[in-house]
Symmetry: C2
Subunit: 430 residues, 2 copies
């Protein structure tokens, strides 16, 4: 057996303590799989005086900079947040350490700097745990599909919002009530903005899009709308039509092949689609590739042990690279597609309108669609008198034309209120 491979761990929270535990508990398995033992050099935490279950207290330190300066073979960063994580990762790479990180926010904001430092210092950068926790997803995208062309990625990548939307669908409950329940159960944070505002999903969408389309994509390139506006009425209307509402991260190549659009928004998905049955806090990513066709990856998107499993898979990969003399994938942005706005996406809309109950309303409404170049697929008239309503689903159209249609509808006398508007994904045909 060869000399030990040293691992320094930055962060001793839910994920970090599980990573430490697994490295210590599964040391025999890990050594056999790598061909050399892993040795935990230290665990940097905020308060080194507080004991962590399963982590020998002698390994705890509150001096992350000093731990990084020891130049371990591998530095695992599971602190989260932009700073001091970025500075520590760059210092680690400069000291010759390969880095495994789960830091989606940092990767989505400034992944290019990390990649550049990894290449400059001849070290590895792995980050499987940054998207969809335990689901092996980035490695398949980077490696298994390296001989294919990805067309579209549709992902449920935020467990909190999927839990909330699943409960709203199952129980007919209001958003606010379910959010409060999710907070009680620990599925949502006291300040849930990053989750329910779609920001967490947007960071993951940027990471997925960069790998899928070999094009640099950052957080700022992602159009983002959260679920705070989704009502029990939207959920009920979706159910009536055979759909379920999901917060999707969508990354797609444009029809001309030269652009990429990345967006996060509440989406109506047909109940027959594989993503529709992804309930509770589970994650899943649906990928369409030219040769491979449709595939889906499903599993736990968060939690200490699942995320630690993904981190350790990366640690083993880096350790094997160190042993074999190779290195992992570098940044791949050769395709350099143009980042385009959501207004250029080809989407479908569902539109729910309160309308006046008088002759000619449907004709007026239909003209607002056709004047903006949008073709209607289905329209349903509901109720009468004060409760008169129209529910419209469109064919595929330019998203900008669809949003202009909504503006036009809002200005019509016969439209009392635009009750709901939502994009639709996962239907076959145009």
């Amino acid at each position: 057996m060869s000399a030990p491979i040293t691992v320094a761990l930055l962060g001793g929270g839910t994920v970090g303590s599980q990573v430490a535990r697994l490295i210590l508990e599964q040391s025999d398995d890990l050594a056999a799989r790598i061909g050399a033992p892993l040795e935990l050099a230290g665990v940097a935490v905020r308060d080194a005086s507080r004991a962590r279950e399963g982590v020998p207290s002698a390994l705890l330190t509150d001096d992350a900079t000093a731990l990084v300066a020891r130049g371990s073979d591998i530095v695992v960063e599971v602190m989260g947040g932009i700073e001091p994580a970025r500075t520590l990762i760059l210092q680690a790479m400069a000291a010759g350490s390969s880095v495994v990180t789960a830091n989606k926010a940092l990767l989505a904001a400034d992944g290019a700097a990390l990649y550049a430092a990894a290449a400059a210092n001849g070290v590895d950068l792995y980050f499987e745990a940054s998207v969809a926790g335990a689901i092996p997803l980035l490695r398949p995208l980077r490696e298994s599909l390296a001989g294919d062309r990805v067309v579209k990625v549709l992902g449920i990548v935020n467990g909190t919002t999927n839990f909330i939307l699943s409960k709203m669908d199952e129980e007919g409950a209001d958003y606010a009530d379910v959010l409060a329940e999710a907070q009680r159960l620990g599925y949502a944070e006291a300040d849930p903005t990053a989750d329910v505002g779609g920001l967490d999903a947007a960071a993951k969408a940027a990471i997925l899009a960069e790998l899928a389309f070999h094009t640099r994509v950052t957080f700022d390139d992602v159009s983002c709308e959260g679920i705070t506006g989704v009502t029990a009425a939207d959920v009920a209307a979706a159910r009536d039509m055979g759909f379920v509402i999901k917060l999707l991260a969508v990354a797609e190549r444009t029809e001309d092949g030269r652009g990429v659009i990345v967006r996060v928004h509440p989406t109506m998905v047909p109940r027959s689609h594989p993503l529709a049955s992804v309930r509770d806090a589970f994650n899943a990513v649906f990928i369409e590739a030219e040769s491979a066709g449709e595939m889906m990856f499903y599993g736990r998107g968060a939690g200490g042990a699942p995320t630690a499993s993904a981190v350790l898979g990366d640690v083993v990969a880096v350790a094997r690279n160190l042993r074999s003399g190779g290195h992992g994938p570098r940044e791949s942005t050769y395709a350099d597609l143009e980042i385009r706005g959501i207004d250029q996406a080809r989407t479908r809309y569902y539109v729910n309108l309160d309308v006046a109950d008088r002759p000619g309303v449907l004709a007026t409404v239909a003209r607002a669609f056709s004047d903006n170049g949008v073709s209607i697929q289905v329209v349903r008239q509901e109720g009468h008198g004060d409760d008169a309503g129209l529910i419209v689903r469109t064919h595929l159209a330019q998203d900008g034309d669809l949003s202009r249609t909504i503006e036009a509808l809002r200005s019509l006398d016969v439209v009392k209120q635009v009750v709901g508007v939502m994009r639709v994904e996962g239907e076959a045909g145009s």
Copy 2:
């Protein structure tokens, strides 16, 4: 850009011609992803005089041995069958070529010889396409889950049988009628034995089990039962109970942690389980790991282009290893678990009995279960007179005890016929 990486292709059938087409059509993308162009050295086919769409005829040869002797960087074997594939692969490795193969039969029969030759010659052996076609599955198992402990693998890995069972479920049709339809549509071969007999699934189960449990597993280690005995009545009974019948490949660690059991058989799966919604010719593999929890991989299991996508992903991986100086994973059998027979598995049974309609029948039948150490979960009495029946589902028990129970039932006077017996998987609890 570096010197070209040469690829020799053995086999010009459905998969081989798609691999050749993609290497030629996507040469710019592939070169950018690898950092060096791929160069197709030749395509060995049975009849080199017959043109293949998209493959320049100058590349065709009917002398596979001479092609292999040229010592290309990578040899892709997509001929199938044990010989001459094995001899050609071993010759290729001896000539210093890394090998990418989709040959499940050869890997399941004699993978150890291929691994040994790869290690001895310092070349790579990749085989993602051998199981579940386009679904990235083996790379996640070998690499992403390298820091975790797999507990159980449940796979729908044969598209033909899944197509047949899906149709039987949807249409209530008989096995023979659906098989004939599948043959008309090209989903089943004229001689369907390898598929419907479970042999194809058993080869894939052996490959999955070896990777999941770090233990050498060959085709002969797999208990195998096909779908030829599944009747429309079984399918209807499953449906009544909220189940669907799937041909599952199951690989599991035994409760004492020291053994592994690998089995293929028709299985009742609850309709709420993610595997239940895998229809038609799609494949999916459900994996349970200690830290990562439950995950599922879903996609196309066969077809020229999907399989070619998986082959090319491996070709890119080998090419990157050649460029970086590293190598891919070697055989990992360090755990060396004991292969145990299906009689030692802990399973549940569904049992459908024609019984005499007289007092005390249920008590007599129940005693046959308890005398063999099997606990009943649910029993349902149906019909009366000549149509009297009992449907029993058991709790988890040793498979050997369950099969002894069935023997005991067959010998009872009150049991006129054991109409159906099937194992159940995917239920929570005991």
